[in-house]
Every structure is written in C-alpha cells, then in structure tokens.
Point group: C2
Chain length 206, copies 2
Amino acid sequence: MTTMTQHSTTAPRRGRPGNDRGDVITAAVSLFNQHGYEATTVGMIAEQLGVSKSAIYHHVASKEELLASALDRALSSLEGMLETANSSGRSPLERLEYVLRGTVQVLIDDLESVTLLLRLRGNTDLERQALQRRRNFNVAVAELVTEADDTGALRADIDPSVATRYVFGMVNSITEWYRPGGALSAEQIGDQIVNLVFNGLRPRSH
Amino acid sequence: MTTMTQHSTTAPRRGRPGNDRGDVITAAVSLFNQHGYEATTVGMIAEQLGVSKSAIYHHVASKEELLASALDRALSSLEGMLETANSSGRSPLERLEYVLRGTVQVLIDDLESVTLLLRLRGNTDLERQALQRRRNFNVAVAELVTEADDTGALRADIDPSVATRYVFGMVNSITEWYRPGGALSAEQIGDQIVNLVFNGLRPRSH
DNA sequence: GTCTATAGGTTGATAGAC
DNA sequence: GTCTATCAACCTATAGAC
C-alpha cells in the first residue's frame, strides 16, 4: 500500500512534478521512528512515496544523509530557540520559562525529527555527534536553571542539574502521546507544563 | 568482539555450564534496546553470548518469544506494584506516592525490559498487546490521581489524566539517563521525583 | 560451504512542466 | 530546451537458509 505524500505547496516549482528533498526526508523520518533507523531500508522509503528506490538517490546521497538532515533540523530548532531566549535580556527565571515553552513548541512543530533525536542510541559516529550536540543543549539549559536558582527564584533544596533532567524528561515525553490535530495546542501544553513544573500538584495552602 | 555475559549466579546449577534462558533474554533485550527489535538478528544475540545461533534456539522458540518474555517481565512488575499499592488500604494520595516510588523502583530493577516496553511502536500483534496492557496500567494510575484529586489532596486546576501523563513522562524518562552503579539510589530518585511532582520548583512563600 | 535474498548504492536514459 | 523527478537494470557486499 503506497501513500502519495504531496509536498507542502508553498511556491510553484518548475520541472517534472513529484517529490522533493523535503518529502523524502519526511517519509524517511516517519519510517525511522516507526521501525528504527537500522531496520528501515531505502526500498521502504521509496515504497512509502510510491516511487522507485533510485528516485530516492536523486534527492539524497545516502540513507545516512536522511538521518543527518532530520537530526540537524531538530537540533537547529532547539539551539535557535535557546539562543533567542538567552539574548532576550530577561531574568533567568523568565528565560527558563521561555525555554520550557519554546521546547514544547519545537517538539510539536518538528515532532518527527525531534522524536528521532530523542530515540538515538549512539550506534554510529553521526549519532554520537548528534547526541553530543544534544548534550551541549542540555548543559546550557542546566546553566540557565542554575542562574535562576542563584537569584533565589527556585527552591534551594533541589539540585539544578538534577531538576533539569527531570523537567526536560517531562517535556520530552510529549513526543510519546502528542499527535497533530489533537485537542491541545502548543500554548496550552506549555501552560500546563510551566504550571506543573513551577507549582507542583499539591495545593498551595493558606 | 564478543562479550561473555555470565548469568547472575544465585544457586549452583547442575549439568553443562553455560547460558540459561535468563542469560539469553538479558542479552537479547540489551541488543533490542541498542539496535531496535527489528534490526536485531538472532545471530547478533548468539555472538554477544559467544555461542552459535542454534544454541539460542535451545532456550527459546523464536526471536519474538524473547521480546514477549521481556515485555511480560516489565508489565508484570508494574502491575504487581500497582496491585500492592491499591490493596494497602491507605489514602489515595498515599497510594499515589507509593506508585510513584514503586515505578521508580521497577524502572531501576528492570531497567532494560522496561526501557524496551517504553520504546515499543506497536508494529506487531505482540507489541500491540503489550501496549494495551501498558495503557490499562496508565488508566489505573490516572484513576488513582482522580481519587486523590477528589479528596482535595491535589490542586483543582489541573486535569488528573493530563497530570498523570506529564508525571509519568517525567518518571519514565529516568530510563534515558540512569545507569546501574550510578550515584543515586532508587530511594533517592523516588524522593526527588515525589518532591518535584508535589511541590514544584518555585519556593513556597507568601 | 554454497546458495539465495536483500541491502545500499550506481548508471544512463526518459517523462513531464515551463 | 531547461529543469526536476523518475525508472529499469545493474553492481557489490553481506546475511540468512540449507
């Protein structure tokens, strides 16, 4: 059963109609997430798009390039969002909240590529490089939490790097259940996350 | 490069020394987590144990049986823990806290098999059955959160089923970074999780 | 130890829109 | 005729079956 995935029509293109590089990457990432990168064959990607295997190689040089493109997209989105937050001149706590909401937004906008990133196991050099970039992002976020902690904006009895792990574990778990067209918007999910992370489940007595 | 994974020696066994069924499952689950179930071949499992492929089939009937055993182990641990919590006669809030700490304990005790469970994509009947059992567990936990909410133990402005998703997203993310022999015990991690979930990051002040 | 299927990847020519 | 996307056939290496 082949599914014709039409490219998102932005500007009219010249030449023979069909799939562009973005379509191929989209189909590939979806299959990578469903079956794992190793178990996904280029033939499966071609079948998904309803074209022959060699058509795939017109758009990309290798299967690994598909993985690299998707991971770079996810990482660039996250890094760009963090850069925006840190150059905003706001307080550490405000920047932290911005990063929380921004991460939710990136997860939802680039759901498939971020999901792929989060499921990496570091089996190849490429995967290990992506994991290193992801670690750098995590370290920068942990520094932000530390800054917020230093201003007294957070509870003193929780270690910042530990808190970062748990909080972003919660945020990243959105990829496990969020599906496009769901009832909740990115803004609503961001609100819920921020509320839960900062206030917890227990009633604020008095 | 073969890694001789010796079985966890509990009681001395008779007969020819070597791997038992548990050793095979342990090696298989580790490879399933590293490469994905589909991409893992029985030959890889044999190589990891330093035996021939046919030796694997002495212990299990199929590759799928290895998956089934691991998933059943993870699910039985979680279900048993939940059963213990719900038959304890305590308050909903106390039972919820018990389930949080219990889930952390199960994650750490059965790290590899629970990791496998959490990464399922539902590609086969077996996987879909396991995911259904996991959903049943999640529903039971959500009911527990609802009960706790009904007693006024939780903040009124957070939907119980939504909160359950986020909280267990946080808990399950432990599998992403916890490694045996790490600095933190299951009890310490449970304390951190419970503290963060119930109290949040913001100082409780006026 | 041989046989077969399948993997990633290549080649060179072609189809279709402008 | 230019541009993009496509295809059938092919190559080489390897992994599973017997």
